[in-house]
């Protein structure tokens, strides 16, 4: 139990996927303009990450390893993630058309969110079991969502701030992301993996 707790803490805070591994930066910059869209993106990514890490573990354990096809993992995982994302899109469109409109192009882009593939590959590399994989995926998604939501609120305030002309838009967003990453380094002493 302590192991799992440490794993979750590590994936969500200490080694935050966005702010310390620099994975999944495209949605981090792209969908952080409006809070509603960011919240939707965070939830959708959390959902996709959890499901995809569970399914990729199953695929790895019961298909790829027995057949000696370990080298196919990147291809097969991307295919699997694309399928899960498509399923998520169908669900979001059916349950909340407004959210579907807000997320727009970014929902299919979860497919190319490197954090999702990163979690699947890290699960395999670290030889996580099914439960560990699920916890790792969910906490990575929670960490991504936390960073994204914090960043969005910062950017919404930045919109009204008096930023020098040369820094408006993306530059100040990147500087802010860098400062947030520095702040998250403060979690490094928590002692989790």
């Amino acid at each position: 139990m302590t192991e799992l707790l440490l794993l979750a803490l590590g994936a969500s805070l200490v080694n935050n996927f966005v702010l310390s591994n620099f994975l999944g930066l495209c949605p981090f910059i792209g969908v952080s303009r409006r809070f509603e869209a960011a919240a939707g993106m965070a939830l959708a990514t959390l959902f996709v990450l959890t499901i995809a890490s569970g399914l990729s573990f199953a695929l790895w354990q019961w298909v790829l390893v027995p057949l000696g096809l370990e080298y196919l993992r990147t291809l097969v995982f991307i295919l699997l993630i694309a399928g899960v994302v498509q399923f998520t899109e169908i669900m979001v469109r059916a349950t909340s058309p407004l959210l579907h409109q807000l997320l727009g192009i970014f929902l299919p882009l979860i497919t190319t969110n490197c954090a999702v593939l990163g979690v699947a590959l890290l699960n395999v590399d670290r030889q996580h079991g099914l439960l560990e994989s699920l916890v790792f995926g969910a906490s990575a998604g929670a960490g991504f969502g936390l960073a994204l939501l914090l960043f969005t609120t910062l950017r919404e305030r930045l919109d009204t701030a008096d930023v020098p002309q040369a820094f408006r838009g993306a530059p100040v967003a990147l500087v802010t992301a860098g400062l947030m990453a520095l702040a998250f380094m403060g979690f490094a002493g928590l002692g989790a993996r």
Binding site: L79, A82, R93
Partner: protein
């Protein structure tokens, strides 16, 4: 690597792709039942001006609100009484007059830009819900009449008030001699 291994690898990838495809198709048919098509049918009756006078961001959200019972059918001034009657017939409700709180019905109209006065500020471009205004910064803008819904959303952003609404021309594509100045 022997040929068998390649064959197995291709087979596994193909099997995964087919499985995912079938599962997705099944999920799509399962999750999107008739509830969605009612929204579609209501949406088809709305005038598609995307003007937001119903206090919803567009015609489709209003259609969804009608379908879920959150909104009445009397909130669409551009559609006028004809739309209310059509909606009432579709939903099997009694027709009711338009709610004046959402605006008065108007005849069909299109936006027209006075190109002499337009300064090319491009502020009306993002306001247009159907992208019917052509133009770029510092270039004169104009309206594609066939696309314009007459929603009036381009009027407030214009700093020089060079946009006005005119009745829909009977034949909008006919060439007209320029008037002598």
């Amino acid at each position: 690597m022997n040929p068998d291994a390649v064959f197995v690898a291709v087979l596994v990838a193909a099997a995964l792709a087919v499985t995912l495809g079938v599962a997705l198709g099944w999920a799509a048919s399962l999750i999107e039942p008739d509830a969605d098509s009612l929204v579609e049918r209501i949406d088809a009756l709305l005038p598609q001006t995307q003007c937001g006078q119903c206090r919803y961001p567009g015609c489709r959200p209003y259609a969804a609100a009608i379908a879920s019972g959150a909104a009445e059918i009397d909130r669409c001034p551009p559609g006028g009484d004809a739309t209310v009657r059509a909606l009432a017939a579709l939903l099997d409700r009694s027709p009711r007059p338009l709610d004046p709180a959402f605006g008065a019905p108007k005849p069909a109209q299109v936006a027209w830009i006075d190109e002499e006065k337009c300064i090319g500020c491009a502020r009306c471009l993002p306001a247009c819900p159907v992208d019917a205004i052509v133009g770029a910064p510092r270039q004169m803008h104009t309206v594609i009449t066939a696309q314009c819904t007459g929603c009036e959303l381009c009027l407030p952003p214009c700093p020089v008030d060079c946009i006005e609404l005119r009745p829909v021309p009977a034949v909008s594509l006919r060439y007209r001699q320029p008037r002598a100045a």
